[in-house]
């Protein structure tokens, strides 16, 4: 029976599963012949099925990087440290005298530090006991830090000052007492001086330069940083310094160099006294003491340092010859005539640091770290005002006649002198004319005197006190004679120095004494007359700085009210011409200390003096200059 070969397509057709969604079809029936021709032959499959299955493995490597660990190193590099040690000075650990006002306890302006006569030292004893400035105070106190000057280069030395406690703490911790509470600006002045080896304290008169210098020196001595100090001042001011030292540094032993030569020589050699006081005049006689540099001072202070403004003077040379470590100059007028004055003072402080050829602005810059200057307007906002009245007066007819005659004859005389004319001749004429401006020589009539009389009557009637300044002692004597009814006191070169202190005390304490006649030369520096409300400049000095000093005898710390300054000036005279020169000098001072450009020399030059009378400077005078 033949069998038709199997056709797979038939299965599909038979199954009817071509589409699962098709409806089942009827299975067709058909006949199949199975009589197929079957032949057998060996395939070997059966045997193969009986063998174990062979498994073979094929490996493919996976190409992936192994994870890597990254180590971050945290460095512990050593911290570098710089170390500084400072000596603990045993002097600071000593207790000071228990009197006066501890710093930092406030205090009214009335009890503030001034020139020294503004109150009694016992004023402060009733105040609160010492409170360490370091403690948190009930009231805010000023904190004045020391600043190293620019010329200190070594870091250790600079840090020594940077790390010092505030000045108020230094003072308090050392139990130093003050008779009056210093002003903050005075602490700043002390902080300025303390670290400096070269310094000019150029505060305006009346701001307490004396107190600041004494306190700075006192602190240095107490700390042991210095052991010997020399103060040089004009002779009339020695007693004032002694008084101020007793007030501000009562524990400080002081020796005044005085007496005959052998005594002075012995005094110079005594080094157990930490502070010596000498006057300029005496210094000249003892110049040989300083030769050889065997006598050395840790600190030399020059009061009224303008005394050495002439570098070629013996005074300047002797002062500069003193062997010393620190040099301080005190002056309210570092420039009186020209910038040469300042250069001369710097020759004492730092020889060669300044020279005359430098321009004003450059000098101002170079000197700035060494000079501290404050004015009352700047620091004493609560100081009573200073009122200026310029009494510009016409000469009386008698004075005019005498003046014209004297001037005409004088100028003719000067012209006749020709090459023999010297500056001294010109000065004599100026002096003669100024005398006439004060009084008519024949009659004594004076327009100034009339004005002064009216003013003084008012002063006396109000119970105030007045100082009358004049360049000429003779004029002061005339005024005294004319104003006997005012019972004026006199303080000038003809009054023995031994009597002068008593005169000042009488003027201050005696309520019936209202007028003090004073010469610029004797009374313009160092005196404290802040109880005066009126100052009269009967005639004018050559230099505005000297006039300012005179005015500031009254207008200074402790002044109880405004100070009225009357500047008398006769119009159209030599006084007016000199006044113009003085104004120019003020401009020079401003140029150096405000760093504004200005001509280098506006002082009263030889040419200026001759120019007062339109005279040419003779060749001989030029050569002599």
């Amino acid at each position: 029976m033949p069998v038709a070969p199997h056709d797979p397509s038939d299965d599909q057709a038979i199954g009817g599963a071509a589409s699962p969604h098709a409806a089942p079809a009827a299975i067709p029936a058909f006949s199949l012949d199975l009589s197929w021709d079957v032949r057998c032959f060996a395939t070997g499959w059966i045997t193969a099925l009986q063998r174990d299955t062979k498994v073979s493995v094929t490996s493919w490597p996976i190409d992936a990087a192994a994870p890597r660990a990254v180590s971050v190193r945290i460095s512990r590099a050593p911290v570098m440290v710089r170390s500084y040690t400072f000596p603990e000075l045993p002097g600071w650990n000593q207790q000071g005298p228990a009197q006066g006002v501890p710093p930092g306890t406030g205090g009214s302006s009335a009890s503030r530090a001034g020139g020294g006569l503004s109150g009694s030292p016992s004023t402060g004893s009733a105040l609160a006991p010492v409170v360490g400035v370091g403690a948190r105070p009930a009231e805010p106190v000023h904190s004045t830090r020391l600043q190293p000057p620019r010329d200190i280069v070594k870091l250790r030395d600079r840090l020594y000052y940077v790390l010092q406690p505030p000045l108020e703490t230094l003072v308090s911790a050392s139990q130093l007492r003050f008779p009056f509470q210093p002003f903050p600006y005075q602490y700043q002045g002390v902080a300025f001086l303390y670290p400096r080896y070269a310094a000019i304290l150029a505060d305006e008169m009346g701001l307490g330069k004396t107190m600041q210098a004494i306190t700075a020196a006192r602190l240095l001595l107490r700390s042991g940083e210095i052991r010997s100090a020399l103060l040089i001042c004009p002779k009339p001011l020695v007693s004032n310094w002694k008084r101020e030292l007793a007030l501000w540094a009562p524990e400080l032993p002081v020796a005044v160099i005085e007496g005959d030569q052998s005594r002075r020589r012995w005094q110079w050699q005594q080094m157990h006294t930490p502070l010596k006081i000498a006057n300029y005049e005496l210094l000249l006689r003892d110049a040989d003491v300083f030769r050889g540099k065997q006598l050395h001072f840790d600190l030399v202070m020059l009061d009224e340092a303008q005394r050495i403004k002439n570098r070629s003077s013996t005074t300047s040379q002797v002062v500069r010859s003193i062997s010393r470590t620190r040099s301080w100059a005190l002056t309210g007028t570092p420039i009186e005539n020209s910038q040469e004055d300042l250069v001369a003072i710097f020759d004492f402080l730092m020889p060669g640091y300044l020279n005359s050829s430098m321009r004003a602005r450059r000098i101002g810059r170079a000197a700035s770290d060494y000079v501290l200057r404050r004015t009352k307007d700047l620091v004493l906002t609560d100081l009573p005002p200073k009122l200026y009245r310029d009494a510009e007066l016409d000469l009386t007819s008698e004075q005019w006649e005498a003046y014209r005659t004297a001037e005409e004859q004088g100028v003719v005389h000067l012209s006749d002198l020709g090459e023999a004319l010297t500056i001294q001749h010109v000065f004599e004429l100026v002096l003669r004319l100024k005398q006439i401006c004060n009084f008519d020589p024949a009659t004594g009539i004076s327009s100034k005197l009339e004005r002064l009389e009216a003013d003084l009557e008012e002063v006396v009637a109000s119970g105030k006190k007045a100082i009358v300044f004049s360049q000429l002692v003779k004029s002061l004597e005339v005024i005294r004679q004319r104003f006997e009814r005012f019972r004026p006191l006199e303080y000038h070169g003809k009054i023995p120095s031994g009597k002068r202190d008593a005169i000042i005390e009488q003027f201050r304490d005696d309520r019936s004494r209202h007028v003090l006649l004073m010469s610029y030369g004797a009374g313009s520096v160092g005196l404290n007359l802040q109880f005066c409300g009126y100052v009269f400049l009967f005639d004018r000095w050559w230099n505005p700085a000297v006039e300012d000093q005179a005015i500031n005898r009254a207008h200074r710390i402790g002044a109880s009210g405004p100070v009225t300054v009357t500047r008398m000036l006769t119009l159209g005279t030599i006084e007016e011409r000199i006044h113009q020169v003085l104004e120019e000098k003020r401009q020079l001072f401003h140029a150096v200390f405000s760093e504004t450009e200005c001509p280098t020399n506006l002082g009263l030059t030889q040419q200026d003096i001759f120019g007062l009378f339109n005279l040419q400077v003779p060749a001989a005078a030029r050569r002599a200059a």
């Binding site: 911290v79 170390s83 603990e88 000075l89 600071w92 403690a135 870091l155 840090l159 940077v162």
Partner: protein
Amino acid sequence: MTLMSDQKSLPAIGFLTITRDAEHGLFGGYLVLNALGRPLEFHCTAPVRPSRAQEILYGPTLEPYLYGERIGPTLLEKSRCVPLAVFTDVEPAMAARPFVSTPLLLVLTAERSTGLSGQAELACGVHGGQSLRAASGGTMTDRRADAAHPPRRGHGSVWESFALGGYSVACAATHPQDGQAVRGSWSQFADQIDLDEPFGRIRDAIDEARNSAR
């Protein structure tokens, strides 16, 4: 080392502060004063600047680490005398206490001590203090103590504050004996020592040293 500053009779007191300079990093300064306020020793560090890795890895513990473990102890180790106490005005520097043997106290100014009446619990380290420059990502900030931004509990070290003279100070609660020790010996100095002013001196001295290095 002696308890006294040297052969003199005045005891010494230490002041530690750390300043931050945006350009150079941290400067540490340690000033030793005698009881009258005069300087006996001054130590200051070269600038310390953490690496970026340190900033990331130390995270909020960076400042206690730098102030308290690196700068503070290094400075104190340089001192030749052992003061009665060391005062600091930067909070993270208190982390130095475990590494030094001297009592270490945090000075709180009037405003710093706001909210610290009586005993307060303060966190030691990273969360306290006013940031003069905002902290971000572990960067350093000025850490002078200031309770105007009261510290929060941090890493387990708590402080105890108490009055000393006219000041509020705080010591680590882990070293309560610091407070007792200082209070016991402080009566003679209570009205003499300014606990705030010397930090200004240190900062000025650090500035001076930096300027001289230029």
